[in-house]
Symmetry: C2
């Protein structure tokens, strides 16, 4: 656990500015795959908008923030390779999936290919809409097998592919770009769940739908998500209530009774992300993932699940025989002030055979934080 790291962490200046830009953590926060730490700027922007609502009236304040919100749609669209008109603010990633499925109105029984390790709430939503999830072919660790996916799309194409880009239960990066290309060739829509990848890795990969949440790697507020749909697919959606003439069709999927202050906060958080430089963010997050895996594998009998050089910041650890993960996570929090997540097998019952401990540092984490975790384990 004290072996020197192969490489020092890149972009330490980014870590420092990320750290200085937000409230001082009460302990060591290694849990951005659950919920990240907002910046002072994002917190203040949301609080300021809420106060503005009380001064001006909620809808007058929203109209006053219209340009800012439209800039936000534009920048979020840019991150996923779409235009502002393709982006709808919703309440969460789950709300985005619900809005998509409600609007798409696919025939019950339609087949949807998704990873065997698909996030259980997503599978449950697909089933609630009468859809039939079927497994995408994967390798031994759960990564989509691109050649086998190509055969599936050629031989027996599903109605659409739903791909969770990075799992919530495993820090594996799926080959979304390759699958997007195959889907496009086969004429099968690709829906990308980017809840764990937007702000973490590149998601401008050609998917037809990208949906995500504010609170994880973009470090925006809770209670905000985005649904981005390319125009050709958006034209196939039927909103619950149509938008007035002249509005982009995706605007009909934006809830009106919304946490608008949170949307304002997200726009500021996306600005922080752009200012940090998405490439530099990705490089540092990947390096943090590698450092986590190098420092933690085999410590106290915990086993790292991901390949050491997987380009993500999320690491999961299988417990030593007889160790309860929920209890271990509680002890880390209470005895050591280290925030991490216990992931039960029910989160991805098609893949997990038991609970894992998830470590997900953001830019402000340091090697010292990871060493403290190793010592605590």
């Amino acid at each position: 656990m004290t072996a020197p790291l192969a490489d020092p962490l890149p972009h330490e200046e980014l870590g420092a500015s990320w750290r200085s830009g937000r409230p001082r953590p009460a302990g060591r926060h290694l849990d951005s795959a659950a919920c990240s730490r907002q910046s002072h700027r994002a917190l203040e922007a949301a609080a300021h908008h809420a106060r503005h609502e009380a001064e001006l009236g909620g809808y007058v304040a929203e109209a006053a923030a219209d340009d800012l919100l439209q800039q936000g749609r534009s920048v979020l669209g840019g991150l996923v390779g779409m235009a502002a008109a393709d982006v709808a603010f919703v309440e969460s990633a789950q709300a985005a999936l619900v809005a998509l499925l409600t609007g798409w109105r696919l025939s019950p029984g339609s087949r949807v290919a998704c990873l065997p390790g698909e996030y259980a709430p997503n599978v449950a939503q697909l089933r609630t809409y009468g859809l039939r999830p079927e497994p995408l072919p994967v390798d031994g660790i759960g990564r989509a097998d691109v050649d086998a996916v190509a055969r599936l799309l050629a031989d027996d194409p599903p109605r659409f592919v739903h791909l969770t880009h990075i799992g919530s239960h495993r820090g594996l990066l799926q080959p979304a770009g390759e699958i997007a290309a195959l889907c496009r060739e086969a004429g099968v829509p690709l829906v990308l769940d980017a809840a764990q990848s937007l702000g973490h890795t590149d998601v401008d990969l050609g998917a037809d739908v990208v949906y995500s949440t504010s609170r994880k790697w973009l470090a925006g507020p809770r209670g905000v998500g985005v649904l981005c749909v390319r125009p050709a697919l958006a034209a196939q959606l039927t909103p619950v209530l149509p938008e007035p003439e002249g509005e982009p069709p995706m605007r009909a999927f934006e809830s009106g009774e919304a946490h608008v202050a949170g949307r304002v906060g997200l726009v500021v958080a996306v600005g922080d992300h752009l200012a940090a430089g998405p490439d530099r963010v990705r490089a540092r997050l990947a390096a943090l993932g590698r450092a986590t895996r190098e420092l933690l594998d085999d410590v106290g009998g915990w086993k790292v699940v991901e390949p050491v050089d997987e380009p993500t910041a999320t690491t999961t650890l299988r417990p030593p025989e007889g160790v309860d993960v929920v209890d271990a996570r509680r002890r880390l929090l209470v005895d050591h002030g280290i925030v991490a997540s216990a992931i039960g097998a029910e989160r991805a019952p098609g893949e997990l055979t038991g609970p894992v401990l998830r470590i997900s540092p953001h830019l402000d984490a340091s090697v010292e934080d990871l060493e403290a975790l190793a010592a605590a384990l």
Copy 2:
């Protein structure tokens, strides 16, 4: 327009404390049926929780707020005559209706009785779930005709009654208590949309489901709503994902990816409401409605729709011949700093024959505000 009011406004001390407890309005806010003005305490509680999330981690902060949130469920349940276990926090009134209909899984084609003036997004949601809205019998102004409802329930009972307690397009209070009694007798569930009535009038009336929003008469944050379901009906609901054993069943309808800071703000706002005294709040709001109608009817040719003594704070005005309501609302805002709403006929196409101007003062409004509006009209 300068005729003296029949009665002075009651509880002026309540108006004063409501006013001093929130940010100074930029103009005259007469738009609480759209979105009310939060108190300093509610704004600070939400902002404080969001900062706490950044310090502790989102889910650690949520766990720390657990007791407060449970108190909130308890108090909100109390306002609708239910228990804490029957209350789920959701994102909005619309999200509550969606959660209910998703969980209920009624057969397509099931008949739902609702007012001819039902809120259009509610009708659209019912239709999205394959349900068949049918009109509840009403009198000439759109108030449910209790005797005729009794006959409907006896002769040809619908699967459930969906009653919007106070309209968003008309400040009419529906006889929800009487209808709840009839529904109970007939064994027909009553779903009460209390978006415009919770915090405005008594909603502890025996409905099987009550759903509402935070941002209107309770003056909580945007992006928060509540769904309250009595146990007998809750037992018939199937959540998308079941809760772990031991949790109240309605907890499965609470979104996890939520604006928790807003829930905290709502709990504080409900505390403000209780501290003010629900009976006194209702008396003053009803008096504000009466004063609005007395002061505005016939002013500049605008005609009040509601009976003058309707016990609500919401008044709608039909425009004089040739006057555009959207433009009139804009001029009130821009030229006079008066915030009100233009309500298009599409909001309640089964009842409205044209747009109306909606005036909806909260406790802090004064006769002077209403006189200024009369002068501006």
